[in-house]
Structure formats: structure tokens, C-alpha cells
């Protein structure tokens, strides 16, 4: 398996500001993904973080709103820009390791936008 950490674990932010979420894995991984989840609901894929190139965004998500970086095989960041209360959610980082086909998830970042 892979051990994934996310920072911050939670934050309360003001409307119009930006927050950068970090995801660190303890081993090299092939794929890194960013999801959004409302408590008790399903996961929505935001984008695939590609190492050394632009992320692949899903329909409804754009780079200006959710810029993503992945400078190496073990680290990625997601920025939620110009936040509004509708961005309040849990943001999850997940990875697929080199030796397994399943995803492992980070503990999540609970974001509240006032």
C-alpha cells in the first residue's frame, strides 16, 4: 500500500481567497488524482495530476479555478482559487502505485468557505 498525507487537514477560508492543498506519498506512484466529495456523498473527479505536464481536467473543472502541480512522482498540489461557499467540500488526493492496480486515498482536506 501507500501512505498518503494531505495538508492542511481542514481550513476555513474567506470568499475570494485561494487555498493550496498538498499531497505527499511515501513511494513513487504512477497516477495521482484529485477528487471532491460532499460529506456522505459520492466522489467527483476533478483532474488527473500529470508529472511534468499539465493536468487532465474533467468536464466542469478548469485550470484557472483548480490549478494543479505535480513536480515529481510523490508530490502534488491542488489550488482552489477565488473561492466561494459552493467550493466548501472535502478534497481528496488519491494515487495508484507502481505495483498495484487499486487506488489509495489520502485522509482528505475539509474546506469551508464563508
Amino acid at each position: 500500500s501507500a501512505v498518503i498525507s494531505q495538508k492542511p487537514s481542514r481550513d476555513i477560508c474567506q470568499r475570494g481567497t485561494s487555498l493550496t492543498i498538498q499531497c505527499q506519498v511515501d513511494s513513487q506512484v504512477t497516477m495521482m488524482f484529485w477528487y471532491r466529495q460532499q460529506p456522505g456523498q459520492s466522489l467527483t473527479l476533478i483532474a488527473t495530476a500529470n508529472q511534468g505536464s499539465e493536468a487532465t481536467y474533467e468536464s466542469g473543472f478548469v485550470i484557472d479555478k483548480f490549478p494543479i502541480s505535480r513536480p515529481n512522482l510523490t508530490f502534488s498540489t491542488l489550488t482552489v482559487s477565488n473561492m466561494s461557499p459552493e467550493d466548501s467540500s472535502i478534497y481528496l488526493c488519491s494515487v495508484v502505485t507502481l505495483t498495484y492496480n487499486e487506488q489509495f486515498f489520502g485522509p482528505g482536506t475539509r474546506l469551508t468557505v464563508l
Binding site: 459520492s42 466522489l43 473527479l45 488527473t48 474533467e58 486515498f105
Partner: protein, 117 residues
């Protein structure tokens, strides 16, 4: 469109009874199927996967799932439910993006399992 469905929002079962959480899928090609569990205020944990081979796969915590190609289903089962199994369960399928050949995972809407003492 490629998708995965969990038809039940909630499943209630008495402790000690067998449980089934349903999942059906619609994908092109051979499916890679997964089950995850999320306990309250916790992250998602991997339970089991089907990629190829035996249709009955065994996973963590005594759970198993049966892949049925003709019915395009991948139902999660456990012979004897525990109160501690109460959680939110997600079925997921790995799909290939036709434009790039890379893959992503699609999750079902989730099923809340409640095991009654």
C-alpha cells in the same frame, strides 16, 4: 457512456445475517472493478478488486464480491454482518479515456450499510 450504478441508497441488515450491496457497471472492454469503504469521518479504504481470473474475489474484513459478466454486476457480500461493518460503501470502475489512452476511475453514488444489533 461508461458508468457504475449502486441502486440502493441504504441497506439495513441484522447482525449475523448475510449482506449484499449491489453494483452494476457499463463499460467497454474488460472491466476493472473495485469496492471501497468509508467509515464516518475517515478516508476511503480499499476492500477488494476484480481484474481477471476467478469471478469470486475475496477482500478485507471478510468481504467478497462476485463478478458476473452476463449481468454486468459486481455485488459486494459478506456471510455474517457485524455492527462494525456499518459504513458507506462505494463501487468503482476503471475506464480508459478514448482520446488519450490514460485511465481514470468512476465511482458509484454509494450505499450506506446499517447493521442492526
Amino acid at each position: 457512456a461508461q458508468s457504475v450504478a449502486q441502486p440502493e441508497d441504504q441497506v439495513n441488515v441484522a447482525e449475523g445475517n448475510p449482506l449484499t450491496v449491489k453494483c452494476t457497471y457499463s463499460v467497454s472492454g474488460n472491466p476493472y472493478l473495485f469496492w471501497y469503504v468509508q467509515y464516518p469521518n475517515r478516508g476511503l479504504q480499499f476492500l477488494l478488486k476484480y481484474i481477471t481470473g476467478d469471478n469470486l474475489v475475496k477482500g478485507s474484513y471478510g468481504f467478497e464480491a462476485e463478478f458476473n459478466k452476463s449481468q454486468t454486476s459486481f455485488h459486494l457480500k459478506k456471510p455474517s454482518a457485524l455492527v462494525s461493518d456499518s459504513a458507506l460503501y462505494f463501487c468503482a470502475v476503471r475506464v480508459v479515456r478514448p482520446t488519450s489512452g490514460t485511465y481514470k476511475y468512476i465511482f458509484g453514488t454509494g450505499t450506506r450499510l446499517k447493521v442492526l444489533a
